[in-house]
Symmetry: C2
Subunit: 204 residues, 2 copies
């Protein structure tokens, strides 16, 4: 075990007392409660997984969660199976047709995005739902599959206590400007570059 002397312990205590005073003041200043519009974007890993982690947190508090997957299609993913453990508490909708380079069909991609957005609007209108995850909506917006202004207007016009998380690379500035919380997942190092394949439980 690391050795500490009485001086170090005393200095630590004094520093932490000051830190606590600052911290308490900061907490006191924050009084607003509201549903957040959250955007997870950037090239790094963790955009969707953080959204699903947040969904899990919400479920733990007994709230219902809605999920719309805009791009992912029929393929199997672990998170969907795991959420099945929560029964009706999760309303899950995989509405995509797969990656754009798999479908190779622009009209089909647009139609899928529009169906997904219709489902998103339905979930946002459901008063029993506390959080809606719009997974990869940014991709549909980036390729103009959906009208950006209409989507942002609907998101900002949602009911006041509803949290929404939007994921996907290249979030549009109009969306991030409207958001309360924007996180950019930056890729510092990725195992794909070292020849590691997509693995069960990690990528899907």
């Amino acid at each position: 075990m690391r050795e500490i002397d009485a001086n170090e312990a005393e200095r630590h205590k004094a520093k932490m007392e000051k830190r606590k005073a600052v911290q308490d003041a900061e907490v006191r200043d924050k009084t607003v409660e509201k549903g957040l519009l959250i955007v997870n974007t950037g090239p790094g890993k963790g955009k969707s997984t953080a959204a699903f982690g947040l969904a899990l947190r919400m479920l733990g508090h007994g709230r219902r969660v809605g999920v719309v997957q805009f791009i992912k299609g029929a393929w199997h993913c672990g998170e969907k199976d795991a959420f099945a453990a929560f029964g009706d508490q999760v309303s899950w909708h995989t509405m995509g047709e797969g990656f754009t380079w798999e479908t190779q069909d622009l009209a089909r991609d647009i139609a899928a995005a529009e169906r997904a957005w219709g489902k998103a609007e339905e979930l946002m209108a459901d008063p029993t739902i506390g959080l809606v995850v719009l997974d990869e909506l940014n991709i549909a917006l980036r390729y103009d599959y959906l009208d950006l202004e209409s989507v942002v207007t609907a998101l900002t016009g949602r009911r006041r206590d509803l949290h929404v998380v939007v994921t996907g690379r290249n979030a549009k500035p109009l969306l991030t400007e409207a958001a309360d919380l924007v996180t950019e997942m930056g890729q510092v190092k990725h195992h794909f570059a070292a020849g590691v394949k997509a693995q069960k439980g990690i990528e899907f």
Copy 2:
């Protein structure tokens, strides 16, 4: 619905055919399967939630998950309650004593970190576990509560198929150098700055 003409559809198809060829070649080149050492760091939100989202993905594939919380203490968090739905599939250990400015006791913080690390080693040695989440381990390392070299040696010496996720700000370079996947969560915009308080389902 957005109008597309035949030309645009054809150009899209040609572009996506090329993209698919590139994509397929990339997938072919990735053949390695191994347990990953993953680090989620940076000042932004999503480090722990992404780790818990990954845990969920692993649970959906029927694998067991171990979690050690190095800093968080007795207070209530939604993700812990949610993981209870998975019974014995999750081995959850809240080993912290709370934030350093709450304990104000260096010796106590160090002792808590050492107990937590002992639990982490126990979980990593358990062959039934596929993923271990070491939540906020970076904080314990940053304040030298644990010996960095011993921790990194134990992490890199883990069994070959075990995935480990380490979270927390200010990851040490020795750890990120040893990692397979490092994501820096960057804070673009945060609702605390707009006076919004910590809310159930979002921050805890």
